[in-house]
């Protein structure tokens, strides 16, 4: 077993081109997914079943099915029904966003439900509406508590984004596939790409840890 550093050095710039794509899609998917996820969480905890049930079904569907199946469904399955032209980059972003949103929704729900009932009661007793109470009393407090799991979700999404290579997106994983094909050195290709993913996830884990430390020294 050898790990040929010359091969690695030759292809490293090529692989690193994929980091940008992976990073961009992860960040965009996470950003859009976070907003959608918060909306889903608010729907999920609503007393109104017309809001709650669709959100619940959506979250269960996404969390109960593989991301790969969702990617195929969006890229190959739904175009047949709705007649749109599948575009790899768009479909990849949509899939990552929709997937991320369901997990983020559960994170927010947990954060919101972890705030003591008395906080909502105190806000409502002042004459604040449910919406105002959520916005100015509950969500700011929940926000601190969701930061660590949101960091984990970001890291999970970074890894899972490798699946969108199956619809032709030239992300880090796709670059590794291409490197393996061109160099006939699959071990170097896949081991190197694994190390790059590891470096990325460890970096973000440390960033999240620091952010967490800074926030926990604050109030609330």
């Amino acid at each position: 077993m050898t790990y040929n550093l010359e091969i690695v050095a030759k292809y490293l710039p090529f692989l690193l081109l994929g980091v940008g794509v992976t990073f961009r899609f992860t960040v965009m998917g996470f950003f859009l997914g976070s907003f959608l996820g918060l909306s889903l969480a608010l729907g999920r905890i609503s007393k109104n079943p017309v809001l709650r049930l669709p959100c619940l079904w959506y979250i269960d569907f996404i969390r109960g099915t593989p991301l790969l199946a969702q990617v195929y469904l969006i890229h190959f399955g739904l175009p047949q029904v709705f007649g749109y032209r599948p575009v790899g980059s768009v479909d990849a972003l949509v899939a990552l966003t929709l997937n991320c949103a369901a997990y983020v929704a559960e994170i927010w729900r947990g954060g919101i439900e972890s705030i003591e009932r008395g906080q909502m009661e105190a806000a409502r007793s002042l004459g604040m509406t449910y919406g105002l109470s959520m916005r100015f009393v509950i969500l700011p407090q929940a926000f601190r508590r969701v930061i660590p799991p949101m960091g984990n979700e970001f890291i999970a999404l970074l890894k899972e984004s490798s699946l969108v290579s199956v619809i032709g997106l030239e992300d880090l994983m796709m670059k590794a596939n291409m490197m393996a094909g061109r160099s006939f050195r699959p071990f170097e290709a896949y081991f190197t790409v694994a190390l790059i993913y590891l470096a990325l996830t460890l970096t973000f884990a440390r960033l999240v840890g620091r952010l967490e430390g800074r926030l926990s020294s604050g109030h609330g």
Partner: protein
């Protein structure tokens, strides 16, 4: 100011309030005592609709709460509530706790809200704690900030739900002093509390609630001096 008629409240099969009638006139202070689980807190929480009654009617300042046309948020603006566990907003300073509702509900200007907030913090003796967060002040101070916060909406009625029960003994006095001053200022108050000294001194009327019904009521001198019912005598002998 407050009229409660035949109020019933059940939680599932648990019948907590069993036909409560209560009348509180403007400027009066009513102290409600009773054994734990008798429904005191539930009654108080029905008056601002944190709990929705199972049946019966409640009117605050002439507004019927059970009327579907009533805007409950509007009613709550006129009804301040102070909780046993303070429920201060931990992410906001003392001043920000007080100004939040005036800013967001009344749309008050920041400068005006700050003036109001400082006036109220001064009233409860905590002007110098304006920039402290709840976890930086004592329990008694928290409860005084909570009172200032409730007063910020200029309520016509104040509800106190065991405001000193979660406090260390040496801090009870400072909170009761603020409440007493409030009563002297003419605030209408319903107080659930076992502070008998406060009840004797400040209350216009003391009421004993037991098993979901009022057993006895009267001015403090009569209530404590010549209780009529055995239930009242038994309860008083336990707590005095």
């Amino acid at each position: 100011m407050v009229t409660v008629r035949q109020l019933h409240k059940s939680f599932g099969s648990l019948h907590v309030l069993k036909g409560i009638d209560l009348e509180v006139a403007k400027g009066h202070v009513v102290v409600i005592i009773g054994p734990s689980g008798s429904g005191k807190s539930t009654l108080l929480r029905c008056v601002n609709y944190l709990e929705v009654p199972t049946s019966g009617s409640i009117a605050v300042d002439g507004v019927r709460l059970e009327d579907p046309a009533t805007n409950i948020n509007k009613v709550r603006q006129a009804v301040g509530m102070v909780f046993q566990q303070f429920n201060l907003f931990p992410h906001r300073t003392s001043l920000q706790n007080v100004t939040l509702a005036p800013l967001k509900v009344l749309g008050m200007r920041p400068k005006e809200a700050e003036e109001l907030g400082m006036e109220l913090l001064a009233k409860v003796g905590l002007a110098e704690k304006r920039d402290q967060y709840p976890d930086q002040i004592s329990g008694g101070q928290k409860q005084r900030v909570a009172i200032a916060r409730a007063l910020a909406m200029r309520p016509k009625l104040m509800l106190f739900d065991e405001p000193t029960s979660a406090l260390d003994p040496e801090m009870i006095g400072e909170v009761l002093a603020v409440m007493k001053q409030l009563a002297l200022d003419g605030m209408t108050m319903i107080v659930v509390s076992h502070e008998m000294g406060f009840a004797r001194e400040v209350a216009d009327r003391v009421m004993l609630l037991a098993d979901g019904l009022f057993v006895e009521e009267g001015p403090p001198s009569e209530f404590f001096g010549r209780p009529k019912h055995d239930r009242t005598k038994a309860f008083l002998s336990k707590i005095l």
